[in-house]
């Protein structure tokens, strides 16, 4: 006998079909990923025009609920919703009732009372988006939950690579740095597996989680074989004093920092931001033509537009559906 799994949903009475959420890359199929990337390309071509606003989500309400500081993710979700003509409401934990000790449940119920179509949530704890999804009628998009998942980051990275290199299948990506504390890495590992890219994790021993079942090494020279070097932020805000994951930032930079000397010509470099220049990435690398960091940010906008569109419309999206929406 294997251990039992708790499946409570099947006990619930039959009701309307499940709402679409984006909570984890683990919930997606390869088809889902390809559809989302295709929608993002469609939106990208629309954004090349002089008037960049589409009426697609007119009258819809997108609530951005951010319990952690964020520049690029929150701005990109907000702009994505606005480019699609949705109403947006951004709530940050600082200055809200969360400061007064309100629970996530009550915050979700309160905002849920406005009948939002989508709740985009970033939260320091694993599974917070799942909890919100169970408490409200909105479609929920995970914008980062603890060390668990950051699915839109992984999707925008796939989009960036496909645009830059023309393919995903067979690509070899080295993910370098603090894998243990990285939700970006967890989403990326699953995303690369979905699309047939090879993934190697490189970093200090204590920052490579045990039991992940991925290709792992502490040897930085392993990045030489990769088409792409994906550099993770060394999250010292997550490193408690005396935790001793690494002896010092200096030693980390010397052993695992990405310098021009460690790269092959033409190797692409990515980083989810914000960068610690001089720690995990040398400034010369960050500013080089092979660094795709700003492309990633630009991709973020169209991919998040695609995600909002997809969870709300719930189906394959072609040019036609988009054109019809534009007419409306």
């Amino acid at each position: 006998m294997t251990s039992i799994r708790l499946v409570r949903d099947e006990l619930r009475p039959p009701g309307p079909p499940p709402r679409r959420h984006l909570l984890s890359i683990a919930d997606l199929t390869r088809d889902d990923v390809e559809r989302l990337l295709g929608t993002a390309r469609t939106f990208a071509s629309a954004l090349d025009r002089e008037v960049k606003k589409l009426p697609t989500l007119k009258g819809r309400l997108v609530v951005n609920l951010f319990f952690e500081s964020s520049t690029r993710t929150s701005s990109s979700f907000e702009l994505a919703a606005k480019r699609l003509s949705a109403d947006t409401l951004t709530v940050k934990s600082v200055g809200s009732s969360v400061d007064k000790g309100e629970s996530l449940k009550d915050t979700a119920l309160t905002l849920g009372a406005y009948d939002p179509d989508v709740i985009v949530i970033r939260h320091p704890q694993i599974g917070a988006p799942q909890l919100v999804a169970s408490l409200t009628a909105a479609h929920v998009v995970n914008a980062g939950d603890g060390k668990h998942q950051h699915p839109t980051q992984a999707l925008l990275d796939l989009y960036t690579l496909q645009q830059e290199l023309g393919r995903l299948e067979g690509l070899h990506v080295a993910i370098v740095g603090d894998v243990l504390h990285s939700r970006v890495a967890r989403s990326l590992i699953q995303a690369f597996a979905l699309v047939g890219s090879r993934c190697t994790l490189v970093g200090p021993p204590a920052l490579l989680p045990r039991g992940l079942g991925a290709e792992m090494t502490t040897d930085i020279d392993a990045i030489r074989d990769a088409d792409v070097v994906y550099v993770l932020r060394l999250q010292h805000e997550r490193m408690e004093a005396g935790a001793n994951f690494v002896p010092s930032l200096r030693e980390y930079a010397a052993r695992w920092g990405i310098t021009p000397e460690r790269l092959r010509p033409g190797q692409k470099v990515m980083h989810p931001g914000p960068m610690n220049r001089g720690v995990e990435i040398d400034a010369r690398v960050a500013d080089s033509a092979d660094a795709l960091v700003e492309t990633q940010v630009r991709s973020g906008l169209v991919v998040r537009m695609a995600v909002l569109y997809d969870v709300l419309t719930g189906g394959p999206v072609g040019i036609r559906a988009l054109a019809a929406a534009e007419v409306a």
């Binding site: 006998m1 294997t2 251990s3 039992i4 799994r5 708790l6 409570r8 006990l11 629970s103 996530l104 449940k105 939260h123 704890q125 694993i126 599974g127 917070a128 799942q130 909890l131 939950d145 603890g146 060390k147 668990h148 998942q149 939700r183 967890r186 989680p209 045990r210 039991g211 992940l212 079942g213």
Partner: protein, 433 residues
């Protein structure tokens, strides 16, 4: 050393039950007659006298269960459980004795606090309840409690359950001093420098979901330390809620060289693995955490061969608002008194992984011996502590089914076999389905 409210003993005849008593070596279809709460006769076609007759054909009559490890949240969190509600839950689970941990608010570390619990138990307890007292004052890990006075006041054992005794030196002093009481130390084994801030077993699931890992070795190094100290001081210890294969292996080795240690496992560690955490359901969050399949199988082996003496529920009621939060924020612990037999019968006995007689022994005689109380048995002259089991009876676990004040069960929505049909504790019928 247990207390229960005073009620007249029952007069009952169980007719045609399959009587299974591992301690007495009985497995036969028999009648059992109880006169004034005491087993008067075990035999065939007994006279009913004026007694109530319970038709027990097709049902199993066994010694009632003993739980060495529950949390009754009294004093301090009576919203989660009281002695009345916790012992009512125990009655519904087939128990005739349960033992409550001292990590309440205030901590049970003085004879005065213990005395008030005893008074409450005499007034409210549906089934006999005993109490452990803390090893260290306030479970602070620095100063020993007055163990001699606590033992006189009725402490069955000593435990800082919930936290380990971090200092090896203090653990040694505790072992030395507890020797004058004749009571064992019940130990929560956790090296917190290895488990700090962690919620999920360190393995594939924690790595994939991003949880900080609570490795097996955080438990087993402390088990090894405490076994070594107990052996050196020649004192008796009881290892609480073992979860890791390495811990069981250490216990086996220590027993072979004569260390006097007993151990318990929980139903959830015997049935679930860390795979259940993928649901992110806070009702599968507990300390120690659910571990890997190899650990689960090692615990099951140890339960079969007697290395593990007892099944303990570690019944840990929590208010709803402490579990309706993200996993990492949720309180540790799950309830278990009302589901322990059924879930183990359904998932271990029915599929042929554990003999029924072994399960009955580890839920009754085993835990009774751990704390040195009288072993419940089905024999003329013994107090009536009996459970009537409907092995084929199906029941659905739902929030309304609980006598406990809390509903943080990992089994909500599950259908189980092995229903408790009736419980007799201390000579009184305390539960009937």
């Amino acid at each position: 050393m247990t207390w229960v409210k005073d009620r007249p003993g029952a007069n009952v005849v169980f007719r045609g039950a399959r009587v299974v008593d591992p301690a007495e070596g009985i497995d036969a279809t028999l009648d059992v007659r109880i006169d004034n709460g005491v087993i008067a006769a075990v035999g065939e076609r007994l006279d009913a006298n004026e007694h109530r007759v319970v038709d027990a054909q097709g049902l199993v009559l066994a010694p009632a269960f003993v739980d060495p490890h529950v949390h009754l949240r009294t004093p301090g969190r009576e919203d989660e459980e009281t002695i009345a509600s916790g012992t009512a839950a125990a009655a519904a689970g087939g128990y005739c004795a349960i033992f409550a941990m001292p990590n309440t608010d205030p901590i049970v570390d003085s004879a005065a606090t213990l005395g008030s619990l005893v008074e409450t138990a005499r007034r409210e307890a549906e089934v006999p309840v005993g109490f452990l007292a803390a090893i260290t004052r306030g479970q602070g890990g620095e100063e020993l409690t007055e163990m001699a006075e606590l033992a006189d006041a009725g402490a069955i054992a000593f435990s800082d359950d919930g936290v380990p005794v971090a200092s090896a030196g203090l653990m040694r002093r505790a072992l030395q001093y507890a020797s004058i009481t004749g009571r064992p130390l019940a130990l929560h084994c956790e090296e917190q420098s290895l488990s700090h801030g962690a919620h999920v077993h360190e393995g594939r699931v924690a790595a994939e979901l991003g949880f900080a890992g609570y490795p097996s070795v955080a438990e087993s190094v402390m088990v090894e330390r405490d076994l070594a100290l107990a052996g050196y001081e020649e004192q008796r210890i009881h290892l609480l809620h073992l979860s890791a294969a390495e811990s069981v292996a250490a216990l086996r080795r220590a027993r072979e060289v004569g260390v006097r240690a007993t151990a318990e496992v929980t139903p959830h560690h015997l049935v679930l693995t860390d795979d259940a955490v993928r649901s992110l359901d806070p009702n599968v969050k507990m300390n120690p955490p659910l571990r890997a399949e190899r650990d689960r199988l090692a615990l099951l082996d140890a339960l079969r061969d007697g290395t593990v003496d007892a099944i303990a529920t570690d019944h840990a009621p929590h208010a709803r608002h402490e579990k309706e939060v993200p996993f990492e924020e949720a309180a540790f612990g799950v309830t278990g008194l009302e589901t322990a037999f059924s879930v183990l019968y359904t998932h271990l006995v029915r599929p042929g992984l554990l003999p029924l007689v072994t399960l009955l022994e580890r839920m009754s005689a085993g835990p009774a011996r751990v704390f040195g109380i009288a072993v419940p048995r089905i024999a003329a002259g013994a107090p009536a502590d009996l459970v009537l089991l409907d092995l084929d009876g199906e029941w659905r676990v739902n929030e309304q089914s609980f006598r406990s004040r809390s509903t943080n069960s990992w089994l909500l929505g599950e259908t189980l076999n092995g229903a408790i049909a009736l419980t007799v504790a201390a000579g009184v019928v305390v539960f009937e389905r």
